[in-house]
């Protein structure tokens, strides 16, 4: 990214809605998650878009994640969003290994040098996010956590994750969920007080997902599926639907985007029923290509078995497609009834839903893609998400952080006798380690980082410190 390209952007937004009326003090927010660009996914884009909108509203935001290959060190993104790629070992699925302690020195250094006031962790799969919450509480910083996924209660792995989540969230100031279903799930899993859980849905960038009816072939009917091809996304249902509907409707085509272990199932179906010309498997898609795939279709099919908040159906509706989806998790909250056909997660019910959509399409009763797009684009905007998140920050800023003694009490009474005591012991160890680090390098020795964003951001000033300029070149193998 060229230094010049990032400079002009925030100046326009600074005079925006966030700054009028002298509002409450700006926050310095540190977003922590294992998942960030260049990795692709819902959490990654959530963190990025939310940060950009918060910067626009006059807050200072930085992102902390782990190193991705050669991308390590300190980087700047658009409007001076600072990203720390920390050299921590990745264990599984892009999530870092955790010992609960080893990340303390670096995270503490970053929190101190950036003068962070609120630590905002994302995704319960991210070990780094839990670590950061743990350290932030030890350091007496306010903490916010956003949960992006739904969990079960029955199998061993979810029992363990739920226990970890109980420990991690019992003394967190505020929790944000992406849908009411997700809130219910999180409250149950982590045994939380529902009053400290807010619901702020995800958003899509409507300008990225615009309809283009000229791209689709109206002599046929195309059903688009864009999802990772994994069990959770109900690909087995899809493999039952494809042959049934293809026999019934000779002009029906399927377009499947995405990659995953269940691809083989779809390939088998295609082989068995000789549907090579009508079922196209596109493989993994880059985020920018998704729109080009979506606009080729008439109907979007989502077969997820569990979903906290389905971004894909909002993106599809924004492209003007008729959405057919399973009624699971938070999906019924996402779109109004006139834009979505909800079905039970079974092959029969989904086929009925699709047939209904096809019938509507043939009779021409479906609203035009433009009207659907204009309706959807008002639903979920990142500016709205940022505004609501800001309210959470304002609320959290007035709260007190639990002192050590109360925190230990909370851990021991809240998380069961054994786990509670173990983690209370860890909290004490963490505090001792922090005291040791403070003795080794006192806070006064740590240089305050030059502020790239926020109300006094260096990016808005043409000259600062004489004519000091910043670089964003590759760090020398740091």
């Amino acid at each position: 990214m060229a230094p010049g390209s990032a400079q002009g952007a925030p100046a326009a937004g600074r005079s925006g809605p966030g700054m009028d009326g002298g509002g409450p003090a700006a926050h310095i927010v540190c977003m922590v998650s294992d998942f960030f660009y260049p990795n692709m996914g819902g959490v990654e884009s959530h963190v990025y878009q939310l940060s950009q909108c918060l910067i626009e509203r006059g807050h200072k935001v930085l992102v902390v994640t782990h190193a991705y290959g050669h991308r390590k060190g300190v980087r700047y993104l658009t409007s001076g969003l600072k990203v720390y790629y920390l050299p921590l070992k990745v264990m599984y699925n892009q999530s870092t290994a955790t010992t609960l302690f080893h990340s303390l020195p670096l995270l503490r250094y970053i929190f101190v040098r950036e003068r962070v006031t609120i630590v905002h962790a994302h995704s319960s799969f991210s070990a780094m996010a839990h670590d950061a919450l743990f350290h932030a509480k030890t350091m007496g910083l306010r903490t916010v956590f956003t949960d992006h996924s739904l969990f079960g209660f029955a199998d061993v792995s979810s029992v363990l994750t739920n226990k970890l989540l109980t420990v991690s969230l019992c003394d967190t100031n505020h929790i944000i969920c992406v849908s009411y279903t997700s809130k219910e799930n999180t409250v149950l899993r982590a045994a939380l007080d529902p009053r400290i859980v807010s619901v702020i849905p995800n958003a899509v960038d409507p300008t990225d997902f615009t309809p283009d009816p000229s791209r689709r072939d109206d002599s046929t009917i195309t059903i688009v599926v864009v999802s990772r091809l994994v069990y959770r996304k109900g690909i087995d249902l899809l493999s039952g639907i494809i042959p049934e509907l293809c026999q019934k409707y000779p002009e029906l085509h399927f377009l499947v985007g995405g990659e995953g272990p269940k691809r083989i199932v779809l390939e088998e179906v295609r082989e068995r029923y000789q549907l090579h010309d009508r079922v196209r498997l596109l493989g993994g898609l880059e985020h920018q290509d998704v729109r080009n795939v979506l606009v080729q279709g008439h109907i979007f099919l989502n077969t997820s078995l569990t979903e906290a908040f389905c971004m894909a159906i909002v993106e599809a509706a924004s492209c003007g497609l008729q959405v057919v989806s399973t009624r699971v998790g938070g999906i019924p909250e996402v779109l109004p009834e006139n834009l979505i056909i909800l079905c039970e997660p079974s092959v029969k019910s989904l086929c009925d839903g699709l047939e209904k959509a096809i019938a509507q399409l043939r009779s021409g009763t479906l609203p035009s893609p433009e009207t659907v797009h204009n309706e959807v684009k008002t639903f979920y905007t990142w500016r709205n998400v940022a505004e609501r998140t800001e309210k959470v920050y304002d609320r959290v800023a007035d709260e007190v952080v639990l002192p050590m003694k109360e925190r230990l009490d909370r851990l021991m009474t809240h998380c069961g006798p054994v786990t509670g005591c173990i983690f209370a012991f860890f909290a004490v160890l963490n505090f001792l380690l922090l005291t040791f680090l403070r003795w080794m390098t006192p806070d006064s020795i740590i240089d305050v980082a030059i502020d790239a964003t926020g109300p006094k951001g260096a990016w808005t000033k043409q000259y600062f410190f004489g004519k000091k300029r910043r670089v964003k070149e590759e760090l020398p193998n740091s």
């Binding site: 060190g73 300190v74 980082a449 000091k468 020398p476």
Partner: protein, 185 residues
């Protein structure tokens, strides 16, 4: 004309920045670290010797003692000759280039010279170093094939690691001379 100012390094050790103006376009900046402390030297020596005596008491082999003497001597030589940097200096000559010198405690000096045509800019950057995030000063080298690109980054003051206030001081001095180069034909 020389002036000296005191600063701290990133690990909290006092360092001194000396600026010497030779002429309008020639300037020398030197960062001097603390001298070798007799206390830390004797602490390291006695630690090795105590360990050696402990081993000697166990195995009663006098070879251990002579080995300890050799280890301390060789260790001291290596430390003074290759590790302990007394002074790092930067000589910026507007029409010629930048000379980077580091003087080791033994008196050994290592010098590199970067021709002015290769120097693209001198900037302050940040990096993750050990368990810290620090600022450092570096010279960006021009990529000969691509006028916009940077072929290499040469970090400066690697062993003393001054804090940001000191780096800004050095940075400004360097920029003053680099500016002259740009305005001159």
């Amino acid at each position: 004309m020389a002036e000296e100012r005191r600063f701290l390094s990133a690990s909290g050790v006092p360092i001194a920045l000396r600026r010497r103006q030779h002429s309008a376009s020639c300037r020398e900046l030197a960062v001097r670290g603390p001298r070798l402390q007799l206390r830390s030297l004797s602490a390291a020596t006695s630690a090795v010797w105590l360990a050696a005596y402990g081993l000697f008491a166990l195995c009663e082999n006098s070879m251990v003692l002579s080995a300890a003497i050799f280890i301390t001597l060789i260790g001291l030589i290596i430390y003074l000759h290759f590790v302990k940097v007394d002074q790092e200096s930067l000589l910026v000559i507007g029409s010629l280039g930048i000379q980077v010198t580091s003087a080791y405690a033994s008196g050994k000096e290592s010098t590199t010279f970067i021709e002015m045509g290769q120097v693209k800019d001198v900037v302050i950057n940040e990096a993750i170093h050990m368990q810290k995030v620090i600022y450092y000063l570096c010279i960006l080298l021009q990529d000969p094939e691509d006028p916009q690109g940077v072929s290499e980054v040469v970090p400066l003051f690697q062993s003393s690691k001054p804090r940001l206030d000191c780096l800004i001081e050095v940075y400004k001095s360097c920029q003053e001379i680099l500016e002259q180069r740009k305005t001159a034909p």
